[in-house]
């Protein structure tokens, strides 16, 4: 293969895998929005919490970050469940109007809590595979990035099974489509919302853990990811889960292409440009209403 083609493939592979993580983050945000009509502005901060849970478990107990998923994911679920139960559910009828401030405030509490507990300096973990790569037809792929991509596939696959193959999953979809109708069928929609918020946060936390071998952890690392999650979700259409997955992949590829062919300094800006273009041209998202929602 000539070097230019190889570089293109390299960039695309990188973008696709990074996009997988964005898809994971965006799916959580979109799921929450689809069911509760709430945009979780603390989403990236939950991702940061995930990174620090894995960091803590690694430093304290030498637990491999991938193993710590078994602890971090349930913790994230519980955290999200409690936040919905004791914070968002209290807003009652004012939920849609007050959730922006409530989740923004929550994000501040989380990032400042991390600052208190772990300090401001960026930290990373020292695992052998962090810098490991392998070649696939000439394309070099980072091992942790590949694991992150596979983890995303697994998480989204499980979510799909849950939503379309279980009784509770059907109740979640019903609640998303018509909360009053669901409540009248005997669904405790307040509880369903807590489960959904828990799942969304667990997705963010899992994404954080998967990113730890790749990135430095610092308390405000999440801000950028809240923005990315939002971009992904809007690209795919708010509340549209398949849309969020495609949106994530698109964002990853755009960033990667932009970083390689234009300038690496503006990596985070390329997605925003596309985001603005989509908002202006197709405010309902790339797929509009034609794709099945939650």
């Amino acid at each position: 293969m000539d070097p230019n083609t190889l570089a293109l493939f390299q960039t695309l592979a990188q973008g696709l895998l990074t996009g997988g993580i964005y898809a994971l983050i965006g799916t959580g945000l979109s799921l929450i929005f689809g069911v509760m009509r709430v945009i979780n502005f603390a989403h990236g901060d939950f991702l940061a919490v995930g990174m620090f849970i894995a960091l803590f478990l690694f430093q304290r107990f030498h637990l491999d970050p991938y193993l710590s998923l078994l602890i971090a994911a349930p913790l994230g679920f519980g955290l999200g469940y409690l936040v919905q139960r004791f914070l968002l559910a209290r807003l009652g009828d004012r939920l849609e109007s007050s959730s922006l401030l409530a989740t923004l405030g929550l994000g501040l509490i989380l990032s400042n809590g991390l600052l208190l507990g772990f300090g401001a300096q960026p930290q990373s973990i020292n695992v052998a595979y962090a810098t490991q790569t392998f070649k696939l037809g000439g394309v070099q792929i980072s091992l942790p990035l590949l694991v992150a991509g596979l983890g995303t596939l697994l998480a989204i696959g499980l979510l799909n099974l849950f939503l379309y193959r279980t009784e509770l999953g059907r109740a979640v979809r019903a609640t998303a489509q018509n909360p009053l109708g669901a409540e009248l069928q005997g669904v405790n929609t307040t509880w369903v919302q807590a489960v959904v918020f828990g799942l969304g946060v667990a997705f963010a936390v899992v994404a954080g853990v998967l990113l730890l071998p790749l990135l430095y952890a610092f308390p405000t690392v999440g801000e950028n990811y809240t923005l990315k999650a939002f971009v992904v979700t809007v690209l795919g259409g708010l509340g549209n889960l398949p849309g969020a997955i495609v949106g994530g992949l698109i964002l990853g590829i755009i960033e990667s292409l932009g970083a390689y062919y234009l300038s690496n300094n503006y990596r985070d800006a390329y997605g925003l440009v596309v985001f603005l273009a989509v908002l202006l041209l197709r405010p309902e998202g790339l797929f509009g209403r034609t794709v099945k929602r939650v």
Binding site: E167, R170, A171, R173, A174, Q177, N178, L180, G181, A182, E183, L184, Q185, G186, V187, N188, T189, K292, R293
Partner: protein, 250 residues
């Protein structure tokens, strides 16, 4: 809809399953229901009629837990209903077919019906109940795989009723099932409601379509500006000159 297949005769007094006494309901400071009392006996089909904004839906909302009354009592058998969340009232055996049907538009007809059997107490008999609903509404069986949103208004109303039946209710509350339907379809829906008693159901039917309601129900209450003004056997009300003038346009 399982064992209760006998046609119960309307009886009064201790056989009443649903009742409302001296009900006062307000939205914020604005009171819209004033001291309303009514009851429905086992197996009865009772209508609640009145003009726009007279408070019919408000009373149903209290009975299905969507709204808390300011004063008075709402009861299903021994259970006080006031302030109980909707999902628990469904669990007790009072199903609500809400105004506007409130279907799950992107789910198939069958999934909508299955949602009606979400309650654990009914899950075991779900296949039989589904079969009964399909027997009752053969049209729904044909459309079982279509998204609910793609159905006609009349068919959607059948889905809403079928979905409510899936929870094996004793009492069915219905709010304006004829809303937005063509006259011929209204007749069909009313025929269906009339035949619900074959399933042993007790029904409280709220409607603006006074003539149709009085034709199909046993008894009816007439609400005006939040207060009851008349009640009695539907056949009598249908002949009543005052009712005819005010509601039937004759």
């Amino acid at each position: 809809m399982t064992e209760r297949t006998k046609v119960a005769q309307p009886v009064s007094g201790d056989a009443e399953v649903l009742s409302v006494r001296d009900l006062d309901v307000a939205y914020g400071e604005v009171q819209v229901v004033f001291g309303v009392s009514l009851h429905v006996a086992k197996g009865e089909l009772v209508g609640l009629v009145g003009g726009n904004g007279s408070g019919k839906s408000t009373i149903l909302r209290v009975l299905s837990g969507m709204l808390r009354a300011r004063g008075g009592a709402a009861q299903y058998r021994d259970h006080n209903l006031n302030g109980v969340p909707p999902y628990r009232i469904t669990e007790l055996g009072v199903a609500h077919v809400p105004m506007g049907r409130q279907l799950f538009g992107q789910m198939t007809v069958e999934e909508n019906l299955l949602m009606g059997a979400y309650l654990p107490r009914t899950r075991e008999r779900r296949p039989q109940n589904l079969q009964r609903v399909y027997d009752f509404f053969p049209r729904l069986k044909e459309k079982r795989a279509s998204p609910a949103a793609a159905l006609s208004g009349g068919e959607q109303q059948m889905v809403a009723i079928g979905r409510a039946l899936m929870s094996e209710p004793e009492v069915l509350l219905m709010d304006e099932p004829s809303l937005g339907l063509a006259p011929l379809v209204v007749k069909e829906v009313m025929r269906v409601i009339g035949s619900l008693r074959q399933l042993g159901l007790t029904v409280l039917l709220v409607e603006q379509n006074v003539r149709q309601v009085l034709k199909v129900t046993d008894r009816a209450y007439v609400l005006e500006l939040g207060s009851l003004v008349r009640e009695g056997p539907s056949a009598d009300l249908l002949d009543d000159p005052e009712i005819r003038r005010a509601y039937l346009g004759v």
